[in-house]
Symmetry: C2
Subunit: 235 residues, 2 copies
DNA sequence: TCATCAAGTATTGTTAACAATTATTGTTAT
DNA sequence: ATAACAATAATTGTTAACAATACTTGATGA
């Protein structure tokens, strides 16, 4: 979305409203303020972002292509609600991709990268202590996205961005009440393993981390919240 | 794109023009009739497909989200031209994903699946014998997509669809003149290995297959063709 | 009371006209 | 001849009005 060739100031300004909508929706989903199934009305969004419906529709079309939003003809746009089967596929895809990231990260992580991740973990722990779940979720996702950035493969990074976002939706639907996503000590141990430089053990650790997350799902009941769109987007 | 929940006849009809455009462009790229850098004019497409510009723009926006098309503000839509660095990333992503597919395929391939793949290989060989390169390229891509279908993970299948398409563009830009993509005997050996049921060896074989393909690239010169859009889309 | 149906409202989908920007062509001056 | 500039043409971007569809509300009848 942001890797257009020959980018200049005027070009990036040309899609400002569209990008603002996209980013706002992605962030809101990553913090579980926009739960699965939320309706995204065109008028509503064009009012909120003070742009015309054409921009809104471009943003929604792009999000639909990433399977974050579902477009139902004559009905509108909705945040996708992953099925249990899709959840399984998302987790398998994550294990697949993060395995390769792990191998790359061991070879490429710098001291600054390690420090950044340690700091991320501290902030995540703080958010958990503060019971700030949106922030905790966003930081947890950022930890995994950091692995992708370090690994230096923008294709896999984009795939993982989609998968982690859908993971957040899956957790919102099916995660047992007590557990709140990734266990922070597991993130810590992952960084330990990156420092130690044993890529095989790192792969196992991340694989186990993701399997642990998936094992915590309970497909028997779902959850729901009721906030206005403006509150959820926090504009 | 085609896995919308609650689909009914009227719904699928509602996006008929958009899907026709998308499919036509995807097929044209997969057969190298639309090379990297091709301009996709809005008027041009709305004339060809007899629809309004709004449908065209939805299709182009969706293709841009899959990194098949690049949208340059005030300039229009173009088929992406992968850089050497992007080529490396695409191949690493393919190895990552097809490794998982290989393990799944060994566990899940039925006799019908094997027969289908053998037939695909025969047709591909025939296309090569006939010097029908577009058909050969499309069939070669379909072979890999068949692995994804058998493996039963629609997320990875969609990712691979994008990656194989970008691979076709990469081959069109950087592949040495003589070689024309995947060697068919390697596809044959892959099916042999699926039948034998040794997933580790299958993984190695597919990994080698992809590395072999990547090794055939030559980033020093590029190629170009000049056909009208109507000819390239073959409408 | 509940289900069914109809009218009205709101939302999405389509179309066309207009504005802004870029590409092209032709001219002029060096 | 070539480079720089101006006028023209073509393309993309924006907006608004209208059409079609879906949703909501209230009335009617069993």
């Amino acid at each position: 979305m942001s890797d257009v060739s020959h980018e200049n100031p005027k070009d990036s300004a040309a899609r400002a409203p569209e990008d603002a909508i996209t980013q706002s929706i992605l962030t809101a989903v990553s913090e579980q303020r926009l739960p699965a199934g939320s309706k995204l009305g065109e008028q509503q969004l064009s009012d909120l972002f003070k742009c015309n419906r054409a921009n809104v529709r471009r943003a929604l079309t792009a999000l639909a292509a990433q399977h974050v939003v579902e477009l139902r003809p004559n009905r509108g746009a909705f945040i996708v609600t992953p099925s249990p089967e899709e959840a399984r596929e998302v987790f398998e895809a994550r294990r697949t991709i993060e395995r390769t990231l792990a191998r790359n990260v061991v070879a490429r992580a710098s001291a600054e990268d390690i420090a950044y991740m340690r700091n991320n973990i501290v902030q995540e722990a703080q958010a958990r202590a503060d019971n700030d779940k949106p922030r905790e979720l966003r930081l947890s996702r950022m930890f995994h996205m950091q692995l992708a950035k370090i690994s230096g493969n923008r294709v896999l990074e984009r795939f993982l961005a989609e998968l982690t976002l859908r993971t957040t939706l899956i957790l919102g639907l099916y995660n047992a009440a007590g557990t709140s996503g990734c266990a922070e000590d597991e993130h810590d141990r992952i960084v330990d393993q990156i420092e130690s430089g044993d890529s095989d053990r790192l792969v196992s650790l991340i694989d186990a981390h993701l399997r642990h997350l998936e094992a915590g799902l309970d497909f028997r009941r779902t959850r729901n919240r009721n906030l206005t769109l403006a509150e959820q987007l926090a504009i």
